[in-house]
């Protein structure tokens, strides 16, 4: 049993059923009964995580999470605020390295190679496992330069023609080409929110990733822009593996093939999205996705 700062907590009883229990400002979580329900393994995974723990100083943010991420699949990570889903996502391309007090243990492999190995250079790793953030963050440069920047610094193009081709292809894949082809020299920041987010996705695609991490990519967008991004995610799945963190249950249900539910730093349940949204096996999962999280 260990203590976690939370105003409201859940205690697991013998039947594995969680009852909300108020214990002042301290959460008592019986870790022995929080084994992940569902199949964490997939055949021929793109990424594999085993016994991943994350600490922010003394705060143990993620507990022994093991999960495979399959090729050409969209896996949605859901859970209440502070459950560790974004922290876990950031482990997948070592974004947590940028936080001094953060310590990550366990094994995370990309195509069977340990990404935390000392011989791994984090810069190309983040090109292989790239990230799209909650808020569109285009560089204060032209649309063309926003996309060309990555391939240029990674040396992915030998000449201007090749670079142009990468830019055009990436914008096409991001479903933005038709909307910007006549104004490539205009600032990326002048686009609408949805277009900016697709520009960021084009920028991500341009460096040739294998895995795309998306941390609430539609939370700042209107429904039409959200629909375009979701449609794009479905297209991109043909070529890439996508891990998406979302607070929208419906979005997780719409875009993903597998869903992982996190709670208080534990991976509670993982499984086929259809099953999770029709017949989840863990009460915590059911309570959360039906809006009865207590």
């Amino acid at each position: 049993m260990e203590t976690i700062d939370e105003s409201e907590v859940s205690e697991i009883n013998d039947a594995g059923v969680t009852d909300p229990v108020k214990v002042g400002h301290t959460a008592m979580v019986d870790r022995d009964n929080r084994t992940t329900i569902g199949e964490i393994l997939v055949d021929n995974p793109r990424m594999s995580c085993r016994d991943v723990n994350v600490y922010y100083g003394d705060n143990h943010a993620i507990h022994d999470v093991s999960l495979d991420i399959g090729r050409n699949e969209v896996i949605a990570m859901i859970g209440p605020s502070g459950c560790g889903k974004s922290t876990f996502l950031r482990c997948l391309n070592r974004m947590n390295d940028t936080i001094d007090i953060c310590k990550v243990t366990g094994t995370i492999t990309l195509d069977d190679e340990d990404i935390n190995s000392k011989k791994i250079d984090v810069v190309p790793l983040r090109a292989q496992v790239s990230m799209v953030f909650q808020k569109p963050n285009p560089f204060p440069k032209s649309i063309y330069e926003n996309v060309a920047f990555g391939p240029r610094i990674h040396g992915l193009a030998n000449n201007k023609t090749e670079l142009d081709e990468i830019v055009v292809t990436s914008l096409k894949k991001a479903g933005l080409w038709d909307e910007v082809k006549d104004r490539m020299d205009q600032p990326g920041t002048g686009l609408s929110g949805g277009q900016q987010q697709r520009l960021c996705i084009a920028r991500t695609i341009a460096v040739g990733p294998e895995v795309i991490l998306m941390d609430e990519p539609c939370s700042a967008l209107d429904p039409i822009a959200t629909a375009k991004i979701e449609d794009l995610i479905d297209e991109l799945r043909q070529q890439y593996t996508i891990c998406i963190v979302t607070h929208s249950m419906q979005q997780a249900a719409r875009v993903s093939q597998r869903t992982a539910y996190f709670h208080l730093g534990d991976l509670i349940e993982v499984g086929d999205t259809n099953t999770i949204f029709t017949n989840p096996r863990h009460k915590l999962t059911e309570d959360y996705i039906t809006g009865r999280f207590g």
Partner: protein, 251 residues
């Protein structure tokens, strides 16, 4: 009554789902009353009661439309998932089955009118014996199914499936006996046709009752047991291997 949901952050959502449950129970209660009244009318040769069933049938239809409207509204506005989704799906199918039970009760009432309105001779008690027996069986199954819906407790589902097996056996036996009566005295043909239609309606009500129990099992556990309870049918013995089974399929 067991409330299907509670504890939702949006309290009104729970209220809507629980309201649907109440509406379904109201419909179930009305339909059960329709079945009982039509069977009593049959027993007492009571044309007034039969007409009462026919008059009240629109109330069942109105409740079906109201429930469907509310289900569409919940789906559109709340986007139910997990157990909530199963509740909505199970209730939607339950309402359809209840409406069909209401139709069968009305069908029996119509036949009663046809049978007893004319000056023709009434069917003998011997001919009607199986109808009353099947009526009692079906009423018990429907009551049990509605009890399961009320308490949202699927423990008795198998008992209903067994009742259905008994009902099917009774249906086959009744058909055999009716054929015998017709062969013995051709004047029984008219009554035998009416009685066949009535016992077929009762057999359908039994099927719907079993469906209702299956929906509650799905709601509570997520397990879709449709077409599995049916496998509780006993193996066909040598005495049962006759053409009546084939004829039953034709209904």
């Amino acid at each position: 009554m067991q409330q299907p949901t509670e504890g939702h952050t949006v309290v009104r959502y729970d209220g809507e789902l629980n309201g649907l449950h109440l509406l379904m129970l109201e419909m179930g209660s009305l339909v059960l009353d329709q079945v009982r009244t039509s069977l009593t009318a049959l027993k007492n040769e009571d044309l007034v009661a039969a007409r009462q069933v026919l008059i009240r049938e629109h109330k069942v239809d109105d409740l079906e439309i109201k429930a469907d409207d509310e289900i569409v509204s919940v789906i559109a506005r709340r986007g139910p998932v997990a157990r909530d989704l199963r509740i909505v799906m199970a209730f939607s199918k339950t309402i359809t089955d209840l409406e069909r039970v209401g139709d069968e009760a009305a069908r029996i009432a119509s036949i009663i009118e046809e049978m007893y309105e004319t000056d023709r001779s009434h069917p003998s008690g011997q001919l009607m014996r199986d109808v009353h027996l099947m009526g009692a069986l079906v009423t018990h199954m429907l009551e049990k199914a509605l009890g399961i819906i009320d308490g949202l407790n699927a423990d008795d589902a198998e008992e209903i499936a067994k009742g259905q097996v008994e009902l099917d056996a009774e249906f086959r036996s009744s058909l055999r006996r009716l054929t015998t009566f017709v062969l013995e005295d051709a004047r029984n043909v008219g009554h035998a046709i009416y009685i066949t239609l009535i016992i077929k309606a009762l057999e359908r009500i039994g099927d719907h009752s079993r469906n209702l129990a299956e929906y509650v099992v799905y709601l509570m556990s997520g397990d879709d047991i449709r077409h599995q309870l049916r496998q509780l049918q006993p193996e066909t013995g040598p005495d049962d291997t006759n053409d009546f089974d084939d004829r039953n399929e034709a209904f």
